[in-house]
Subunit: 407 residues, 2 copies
Amino acid sequence: MRKINTTNFSIATRTTARDINRRIALNVIRERQPISRADLARHMKMTRGVVSVLVQELIVQELIYEGATGEAARGRKPTFLHVRTKDRLAIAVDIRFTKTYLMLCDFSGRQLGIEIYDTVFSVPDFTKDLARRVKKMLKGLGAGAVCEGIGVVVPGMVDQRTGRVLNAPALGWRGVDIRSKIAAATDLPVHVENSGRACALAQLWLEKAETAGQSFVYVSVSDGVGTGIVMNGELIRGRDHIAGEFGHMPIDLDGPRCMCGANGCWEAYTSNLATLARYFGWNLSQLSPKHMKEMEKNSFTVLDLISRARTGDAKALSAIRASGRFLGLGLATIVNIINPDAIYLAGEITNAWDLIEETVRSAMVERALTEAASRTPLRITPAQEYPRLRGAAALIAAPTFAAPRVA
Amino acid sequence: MRKINTTNFSIATRTTARDINRRIALNVIRERQPISRADLARHMKMTRGVVSVLVQELIVQELIYEGATGEAARGRKPTFLHVRTKDRLAIAVDIRFTKTYLMLCDFSGRQLGIEIYDTVFSVPDFTKDLARRVKKMLKGLGAGAVCEGIGVVVPGMVDQRTGRVLNAPALGWRGVDIRSKIAAATDLPVHVENSGRACALAQLWLEKAETAGQSFVYVSVSDGVGTGIVMNGELIRGRDHIAGEFGHMPIDLDGPRCMCGANGCWEAYTSNLATLARYFGWNLSQLSPKHMKEMEKNSFTVLDLISRARTGDAKALSAIRASGRFLGLGLATIVNIINPDAIYLAGEITNAWDLIEETVRSAMVERALTEAASRTPLRITPAQEYPRLRGAAALIAAPTFAAPRVA
DNA sequence: GACATATTGTTCGGCGCGCGAACAATATGC
DNA sequence: GCATATTGTTCGCGCGCCGAACAATATGTC
């Protein structure tokens, strides 16, 4: 029941049907590979004749290739089809407060190399340094393949259309046109995205999860709380490209001050910093980057806190559970607003899921509007897989597989 | 950049292109009527030849008709095309705590008749009474035209798929299969929807507003706060059909008790009841349907409060402005989460827009994450046009014009 | 009034593409 | 050697967009 936008639509031409079906075929191959033409035809409910032609076109476009011959109980053996991903590369960059992460991967998201180094806050120096590292990485690990672009993830507000960093308080960047700067230095297409939305993109495009329903919210708890909304298989970016910021919805208008300037944001109650602050008895209202730096120096993280909780530190356990409760209350609000098919959770605190699941769940029941809604599936995603970097890569790889625009 | 759902898609057949273009043509005619074939061809960037055939098919399907001949400076005069709406009718029903609203209208949303009567809470009696009124109305005002269905709007949780009222506290209905009951009594197709989402549907399908961007949130402030989200021209319903409930996001976890059972919901701060409670000095935490009944008896409404504010009652003005401030804070959260192209506002309090606009705006600036976001257009919709009833009608009329499902 | 010009709406051949059926290629079992 | 089964290709058919020609209809101008 979508309404057609009569000021900005695409009519169907005589090649539209083919375009649509070719793209569907590519996606079915991608998700079910290896797969034969005959199987593809059955899945698509088309005749083998048409599928044969579609496949031939995809082979000519070098989007797929024929692999080994499969086994069959009787009759002619099938030729398996695969999506060409190994020699199509993307560079992923994740700029965070302390470290910058740089990854080279192929279009399936397979990691070929990774570098982690101290973040350079000066934009010209950062760009110069990054270009050097990218060139070296491509010459070494990326030899013999084509790099199709660089995806950059920034903690803060970015405009994906223009590639400008509007405001990244953790980096001290405001109104920085990071896209053209990196593009000029590396001579590669660059896409910039916010960290929460990048994680959602990674989940949508690079994970083999059951995103079948294709409406979900990704919630990543780290220094802040990054979130991204996917509706009907499409990332929500919004008018000003700031959509999805559940982290700054209020829990209490008179609550502790948040890094965004407002008071009582969800993030201020459930972020790693909040969890640690509870343990050390800091005043939540007076948290600042200063505390983040201090934590970094002592290299005491939420993971350490979880260890202490597991070895019987009651204070640690109660700090973690407190964050878990606020996490659940926020998730309930997400459920009431978006009512997604699932919520994906990431971040250090998910390593303590066995310790907090009950707390989170009961907090959800407390505020969810229906019983069914409170049972929204929560899916924990392992943090060690660098979801932000995978999201950066998805920025480059996704256009190849996206649905064509029609009507 | 939408991802194709490979477990549930529609391939393009040899009639798909025609289906798409025919539907686009219908919508362009609907929004620009009267329009000639030649103009239609220019708007659609197609040849007149194809458009002629499309138009002929739409005429055969009785979706459009040829009207008068237009004027032209030179050359052959154009034949104007119109969408056939006058003899296609829908019944709209809005069941509220005190009154039930029943409207007969055509597919353009033009009102043919309206009845307002006391709500009958017993479901069998309600159904019987409704069926009687509907039959009478169709016999009288609807003579000579076809009624294509009944749209029903309920204040509370409904499952649009099954037509069940899950929980409507204001009516005391829980788990009532209202759809089959009304369908059986009237022998007409019935669709049920929640009031906030219905308003959004009305705005999307029946108003000639600039919903061009086609992502917006509708916020209706009445006894409660009803909201509906439209993303990319499609109403968000969610997994359990409860999506869009911004009314129950928290403002303060320890805030006043809300009718939903939770504490500190936005609704509890900015609804009509909250506004009146502030004026009369009631404890916000102890509000109940009892107070609503009392207000009804005294027939003192927010409109009366606004009159008092205009005639110099400082206490009235401050009560209204307090609600305005909370309204703005909630809108800021909506902007941060959805970042819509616009927010539509309805409800009695919008009659005092000149008194509260500044308060609302400054509250938005307070919590919106970027300056651009805080400038999200707010559009006031006049309450006397019965948005909920129009939404109910849209439930019936929309499928005729909706985009075909592809890929 | 004849003719040039302009605009709307229709018709027709060309070609892209899905559909179904026939056919070639290839494997197994008896 | 032959029946059977399965994969993958080819081809005629009809639908539908495209461009161009053409018919219909109106207004000026001489």
